[in-house]
Amino acid sequence: MTGVRVLVGTRKGAFVLTSDGMRDAWDVSGPFFSGWEVYHLKGSPADPGRLYASQSSSWSGQVIQRSDDGGASWQPVGNTFSYAGVPGTHQWYDGTPHPWEFARVWHLEPALDDPDTVYAGVEDAALFKSTDAGLTWSELAGLRGHGSGSSWQPGAGGMCLHTIVLDPSLPERMFAAISAAGAFRSDDAGQTWRPVNRGLQSQGIPDSDAEVGHCVHRIAMHPDRPSVLFMQKHWDVMRSDDAGESWHEISGNLPTDFGFPIDVHAHEPETIYVVPITSDSLHYPPEGKLRVYRSRTGGDEWQALGTGLPASDCYINVLREAMAVDGLQDCGIYFGTTGGQVYGSADSGDTWEPLVRDLPRVLSVEVQTLP
């Protein structure tokens, strides 16, 4: 029988939740890297035993960990992330130039076909690549150097490259998203980049439809239709049907279109999920009711899914990295909260159950479907 492994990064360590294909009983192992922030951990699509984890702390900086046995054991690998050339400056919160400074790795994206190749999205925003299983890292400097980098500004959480999406049909194509700069696309395996933000409207910047400056929270793609992208922006849920060349809003009947994560059903490319959050200053669900919203029409028409989720007095948030899907026949949806719960649905979101409660604040959730 197939199984599922849920990789959970938290404010105080990582946890690995495992179940068989029934997904009705979960084994919780961890904490790994106890006491450290684990912004993200993710498995290789080419080798389910190969995992990478970003372990960091304000005291001791960045460590990258690698597992070759599905998370049973880990070894530290390379943690030197040096910006290429003279790093230059970006804009600081007050508009003054600020030197590029490495803070942490937000996102690790293993290559689709090679377990030893992995990309890292970092704060201050830049993209790094390792081809030796994390031992050494080099910057793909064409992203910062494409022209607009000096005008990028941090969002409230720092200026982070938090989303990396690889196109399975075009190995040279990849997407990255930066808060608060926007979405970017490369068609030459990360050597050169250009902004792909046409159609985005952001009221929090002086020019609401500027080429860069948008606070993109998350981008999701279905592997069978890689030219269709879904985006949860600071406000607005957006869709592109042309690989980011243009975007249009699909917020439709959502109670609020502010939120962080967005994901796509494993077998239905028009079925997408978001978790609406009240507003940019009220980071909790509307009315204190935790609900996932699902659209089966690729946006605009949304249905609230709350069976099994707290219906009152719920004032948690779901962060941008904290939602993922499995690939089983009845698609499983998973998300973690800032209150330390990890919820799962084994029926495409119709009903939910907590897999585990009372973990530290959940920063990321990734899922591996095991053979």
Binding site: S34, G35, W36, S57, S58, W59, S60, G61, Q62, V63, P76, N79, T80, S82
Partner: protein
């Protein structure tokens, strides 16, 4: 022989016990001791000092002989008891709430 005491989370990371004993080649200074420590435990590179600049990370402190050495020059000789191995050099995570 220099004795170095690491905070718990770095002991776990490096796979060491509470105290590490180092043979330092030259007059012991913060820089030389940390160079030797990082050479013996490469996983500690970047966790006590910035990997590129070698400057102490902001929330790390160095204590010895009931003194705070954090703001001393990294090239200043360490106190005699540390050099003689009768007192350890403490690497400490600064107190921060939350």
């Amino acid at each position: 022989m220099i004795r170095v005491v690491l905070p718990q989370h770095l002991r776990t990371l490096a796979g060491t016990g509470k105290e590490i004993r180092l043979e330092v080649d030259g007059e012991p200074t913060q820089r030389l001791v940390l160079d030797t420590l990082e050479s013996a435990y490469p996983v500690l590179k970047g966790t006590i000092r910035d990997a590129a600049t070698k400057r102490r990370r902001p929330f790390v402190r160095f204590f010895a002989c009931e003194e705070d050495l954090s703001h001393c020059s990294p090239d200043e000789p360490l106190p005699g008891p540390v050099v003689r191995g009768t007192e350890p050099l403490f690497v400490v995570g600064a107190m921060a709430g939350g």
